[in-house]
C-alpha cells in the first residue's frame, strides 16, 4: 500500500511539472506585459525598465520560468503587486477560510447524498425514487451562484433571519467557532453543497441499486441475515465507486466556491482570486491557482489511495 502511494506520488511529478508550466504561462497570457498593468501609462521608461528588472521580466522566458520555479519550490510565491505583502501569507489565510466552508459543505452534501441515494435505491414506492431523482437533477442543473442570491433574498432580505454576507460580525478578524460566525456560514454552505449533493446522490443511488441486484445479496437474504446487516455489506461494496465521485466533487467544490465566495464576500481563495483579477495582481492570481491546483492533485491522490485501501479487489500494478 505504501509502495503504491509512493508510486502514485512519483507519477504526479510530470503532471506537477506541466501544472507549473501552465500556471507560469498565466502571467504571459495577459495582454501587454505584466508591468504595464501596474504603472501609469505616462511613467518614464527608466522606471518601467527598473520595475521589469526588479520582477525579472527583462529575462528570456525559459530563464524566467526556471527562476520562478526555483523560488516557488522554496515556498516563496512572490509579492503581491497590489498590497506589497507576500503572496504566500495572503493565499495561506484565505485558503484556511475556503477550507472551513468546503468542509462544512462537503459534510452536508455527502451525508445527505448517502442517505437520499440509499433511500431511493431501496425505495419500493416510485414516489421516493422520483423525488430523489428530481433533487439530484436540480443539484446538477442549478447555477449555484444564482441559488446563493436567491438564498440571500429569502433568508436575509425577506426574513431577515440570517446575515447576507461576510465571514462574521463587522469587526471580525477571522473565523471563530461561535454563534455569530456559524450563522454567517449557513447560507454559503448550502449554496456550495447543491452541486456535490446532486452528483453524489445520483451516484449513490445507481451504485447501491446495482449492488442490491448482485447475487451475494440474495445469498445473504437466503441465509437469514438481518436487513440492517445486509445494508452494511451493500454499502461496503458500493463505497469505492461513490468514494471516487466524492473525491472529485470535493475538489471541484473548491473551484465552485470562487463564485459563492464572491456572492457572500467570504474572504477565501475565490474572493482573493476574483479581486486579484480586477486589480490585475498577477502574482496573487498565479499563487492562488498554484495552491488550489496543488491541493486538488493531493486530494485526488489521497482519494485514490483510500479507494485501494477500502476495496481489496482493486489491484494496482
Amino acid at each position: 500500500m505504501l509502495l503504491y502511494a509512493l508510486r502514485r506520488l512519483i507519477y504526479l511529478v510530470p503532471v506537477a511539472f506541466g501544472v507549473s508550466l501552465l500556471v507560469f504561462a498565466l502571467v504571459h497570457l495577459a495582454p501587454g506585459d505584466p508591468i504595464s498593468a501596474i504603472v501609469p501609462p505616462d511613467a518614464p521608461k527608466e522606471v518601467v525598465d527598473k520595475l521589469k528588472e526588479y520582477y525579472g521580466f527583462d529575462q528570456p522566458l525559459p530563464v524566467q520560468y526556471l527562476r520562478w520555479l526555483g523560488v516557488t519550490l522554496t515556498g516563496d510565491l512572490g509579492t503581491s503587486i497590489g498590497t506589497g505583502r507576500s503572496v504566500a501569507s495572503e493565499v495561506g489565510s484565505a485558503f484556511g477560510n475556503t477550507i472551513i466552508l468546503a468542509i462544512a459543505a462537503t459534510l452536508l452534501a455527502f451525508s445527505l447524498a448517502v442517505v437520499l441515494g440509499t433511500a431511493a435505491a431501496y425505495a419500493k414506492s416510485r414516489i421516493v425514487d422520483r423525488l430523489v431523482t428530481v433533487i439530484s437533477l436540480i443539484g446538477v442543473s442549478v447555477p449555484h451562484f444564482w441559488l446563493a442570491i436567491v438564498l440571500v433574498i429569502i433568508f436575509a432580505v425577506e426574513l431577515g433571519a440570517l446575515p447576507p454576507m461576510g465571514i462574521g460580525p463587522e469587526n471580525s478578524t477571522g473565523w471563530k467557532f461561535d454563534r455569530a460566525h456559524l450563522a454567517h456560514m449557513i447560507l454559503p454552505t448550502i449554496a456550495l453543497s447543491v452541486i456535490p449533493l446532486g452528483v453524489v446522490t445520483r451516484t449513490v443511488r445507481s451504485t447501491v441499486k446495482e449492488t442490491l441486484s448482485m447475487e451475494f445479496v440474495t445469498a445473504l437474504q437466503a441465509k437469514g441475515m438481518r436487513d440492517s446487516r445486509i445494508l452494511f455489506h451493500v454499502l461496503k461494496n458500493a463505497a469505492p465507486t461513490c468514494l471516487a465521485v466524492m473525491g472529485l466533487q470535493a475538489g471541484n467544490l473548491i473551484g465552485g466556491s470562487i463564485l459563492i465566495e464572491t456572492v457572500f464576500a467570504w474572504p477565501g481563495t475565490g474572493f482573493l482570486l476574483n479581486s486579484a483579477i480586477f486589480r490585475r495582481d498577477l502574482p496573487i492570481l498565479q499563487g492562488t491557482t498554484l495552491v488550489l491546483a496543488g491541493f486538488f492533485m493531493l486530494l485526488n491522490l489521497t482519494v485514490d489511495v483510500i479507494q485501494t485501501m477500502v476495496d481489496p479487489r482493486i489491484k494496482r500494478g
Binding site: 510530470p14 508550466l21 447555477p143 464572491t262
Partner: protein
Amino acid sequence: MAIQTPSLDIAGAAVQATPASASRGYWKSVRRRLRRDPVTLLCGAILLLIVLASIAAPWLGLADPYKTSMIRRLLPVGSPGYPLGTDELGRDMLSRLVYGGRLSLFMGVTPVLSALLIGGLLGITAGFAGGRVNMLIMRVMDVFYAFPSVLLAISLSGAMGAGTENTLLSLTLVFIPPICRVSESITTQVRGFDFVDAARASGASTLTIVRVHVLGNVLGPILVYSTSLISVAIILAAGLSFLGLGVKPPEPEWGLMLNTLRQAIYVNPVLAALPGVMIFVTSICFNLMSDGLRAAMDVKA
C-alpha cells in the same frame, strides 16, 4: 458545475458496438424511442422555443434592449408596458431576457462544439494510434485534469482579460480534456474488436478503418457525452460573466444581468432573480435532453 469524469460505463457503450453496416436500423430505433419519451420531447420543445425566440428577437416587436430610462428604473414585474419590469438602468427586462439568450446560448454551446472537434480528434488519434502518441496526448490532458474545471476557466479568463473571445477560448480549453478522455477510451475499446482486425486483414487502409468502423461506433457516445456538457458550459459561461470576466456591459447576457441586478435585491428581489431562472431552465432542459438521448441511443452511463 463540476464536469463529471466519464464513468467506465460510458466507455462500456462501445461493447455493444456493431460494424457500420447495421447503422441505419439503429438510427431508426433511436428516433422511435425518442418519440416515445415525453420528458425529452418537452425539454426539446422548450429549448427550441428559447433558441428560436433569441434568434428571432429583433422581429418579435420587443422593446429596445439597450434603451435606458432614468425615471423607469427597477419597475416591478407586471408594470404596464413592461411585462417583466425594468432593470437597474430602466431597460425592458423581457426584451433583455430574450436577447440575452443569444449570447448565453452561444457562449454555452460554442465551446462544447469546438472542444468536441479538437478533443474528439485528439482522443480518437490517441486511442487509435496507441503507444507513444497516446502517452503524449493523454499526459498533456492529465495536466489540465489537475485543475478543478471552474478554477481553470476563471484563471485563464482572468489572465487573458474579460471579453467574449477570451471566455470562449478558456471554456474550450476546459472542455477539451474530458471529451478527449472519453473519445480515447472508447476508441481504444473499438480498436480491439474483431471486425477491425477483419477489415485490416481484408486490406482496408487505416483511413478507411477510422472513417467507417471507428467513427461510426465512437461518434454516438461522444456526442451524447458532449450534450451532457452543454448545461455545465452554459452555467460556467454565465458564471464567468457574473464575475465580470465574460461578456461586457451593456450587452444583454443572463450571467451579467444577474450580476448587475444584485444591487436590486432589496428593492425588487423577484427581478433580481429572473435571469437566473432562464439559466436554470435552459440547463435543466439540456440535462434532461442529454439523459433522454443517452437512453434512446442505448449508451449506458
